[in-house]
């Protein structure tokens, strides 16, 4: 029981931390390198504990992210829903990939996410972003193994399921 509540706290804490990390700015020239943290954390949890992550949760996290920094309400909710849906659909395969293959899959998911965002923005009347806008998914995929191992290690250390 205690372990379960600890687990619930840890789960919430990682999601809140992801939202905060999304808001913290990087110094000027590094700004385009910032990965999309909520997507990475949601991906981790959808691979590791399937019954916690549902489309409804992804939608809720996306809405929260939209309220704190979005341009349009519902934009990130849409992106995170699509991302989590694909991750859950291929969950059993993704879990048993070796790490580099998993990172590649994450890259594909993040690029897909950027394309979705681009579509939404263009439909909303925004202009095409500069080329540096496409760097972020690659940074996210490069960080994925470290994030995955870190979160897994913490979970194993605290023996929470």
């Amino acid at each position: 029981m205690n372990r379960q509540s600890l687990m619930r706290w840890w789960f919430t804490a990682t999601l809140v931390a992801a939202l905060l990390l999304m808001l913290v700015p990087l110094p000027g020239p590094l700004a385009p390198f910032k990965p999309y943290w909520p997507a990475l954390v949601l991906l981790y949890w959808s691979l590791e504990s399937e019954d916690r992550v549902t489309l409804g949760l992804a939608f809720a996290v996306g809405l929260a992210a939209d309220v704190v920094n979005g341009v349009v309400l519902g934009e990130q909710a849409l992106r995170l829903c699509a991302l989590v849906f694909i991750a859950l659909r291929f969950r059993s395969r993704l879990r048993f990939f070796p790490m580099w293959q998993q990172a590649l899959a994450v890259l594909a998911l993040l690029v897909n996410d950027r394309i979705l965002l681009l579509l939404v923005r263009l439909l909303g009347g925004a202009s095409l972003p500069p080329a540096s806008w496409w760097i972020a998914p690659f940074v996210g995929a490069a960080l994925w193994p470290f994030l995955f191992l870190l979160l897994d290690d913490l979970r194993a250390r605290w023996r929470i399921q």
Binding site: F59, V67, G74, P129
Partner: protein, 318 residues
């Protein structure tokens, strides 16, 4: 939950249900986006959730504030001394200029009284600090640490030491959101200082510049020209520097000249900004003259309301 579904229907039903749920959520998100685009719900939601959202902004702004504090605390003595020296020189220069200006301002005031115009040169400002929060790349927005509780209202112009930065578009109780002049959705009425040509500067699409898309071909605009706010539209008071023209070229259509403008304000680096309190008096075209004729009491009710158009506030945020 997933297990229960799997037991009741082994393979495909779960997938179909999952897809249905995805479609439902995607549709919900789309509806939200469309409604928000139409009605600007984001503001209301943010306002309603201010108690939660504002601490998050403060928390997310801490690292930047911390970095700043560290750079001050560990900044080496020599650099600080140099900076201090430079600031002193700036202050001396500014004071000298001010002293000379005082006489001119007084003379100006006198002449204006003679001419019977009411525009004053005094500034009623409030100092605000920028909270270092990333509001999405390329969004051209800033978060300030003052809000509705300090009397900040949407529409107030924001300036820094060098020129106009933007305007407040949303004020929460203790924070407020500023749209920068470089935002593609922002427009500001300007006047070319050298020639007096009036036009409108928009935020450029992509990049931290402004653009003047509709200069008549015959107009005299050169690179290096200084742009000031014209005060038309009544949102920005007249006479503040907006930017400097860096390049003039014919538009693709060949019907106008297009000028690229570098903003005068230090948009990427300002930490302290000023909020102007008294907004400019609407300085547009004069109110239409009351039609001459018989006294209005004699007129039928529907004919009276033609002359009371309020002065336009166009040209601020498209």
């Amino acid at each position: 939950m997933a297990h229960a579904r799997d037991e009741s229907s082994p393979l495909f039903a779960g997938n179909a249900a999952g897809t249905l749920r995805l479609i439902f959520y995607l549709a919900l998100a789309t509806v939200l986006m469309v409604l928000d685009q139409r009605n600007g719900w984001m503001w209301h939601v943010r306002n309603a959730a201010a108690a939660v959202v504002e601490p998050i902004y403060r928390l997310a702004g801490l690292p930047v504030a911390g970095m700043h504090a560290i750079s001050v605390a560990f900044g080496d003595r020599q650099r600080l001394t140099e900076q201090n020296q430079r600031l002193r020189e700036d202050l001396l220069l500014a004071n000298a200029k001010l002293n000379r200006m005082a006489a001119v301002a007084q003379q100006n005031q006198h002449l204006k009284e003679l001419l019977d115009t009411r525009r004053s040169l005094e500034l009623n400002v409030q100092l605000a600090r920028v909270i270092g929060v990333d509001l999405g790349t390329y969004s051209h927005r800033l978060m300030l640490n003052v809000g509705a509780r300090d009397g900040v209202k949407p529409g107030q112009p924001v300036i820094d030491a060098h020129g106009v930065m933007g305007q407040v578009i949303e004020s929460l109780p203790t924070t407020s959101l500023v749209m920068l002049v470089t935002d593609p959705a922002h427009a500001i009425p300007v006047v070319v200082e050298r020639t007096g040509l009036r036009t409108v500067a928009y935020g450029s699409r992509g990049g931290d510049q402004l653009v003047l898309p509709t200069i008549p071909l015959a107009a005299d605009v050169r690179s290096g020209d200084q742009l000031l706010t014209s005060g038309l539209g009544g949102r920005f008071p007249p006479g503040f520097p907006v930017g400097r023209v860096v390049e003039v070229a014919p538009a693709a259509t060949g019907m106008f000249l297009v000028a690229q403008v570098r903003p005068a304000a230090d948009i990427g680096r300002s930490e302290d900004v000023l909020l102007l309190h008294d907004q400019a008096e609407p300085d547009g075209p004069p109110a239409p003259a009351r039609p001459m004729g018989p006294p209005s009491e004699l007129a039928p009710a529907s004919a009276i309301d033609g002359s009371s158009n309020s002065p336009g506030t166009a040209g601020a945020a498209r």
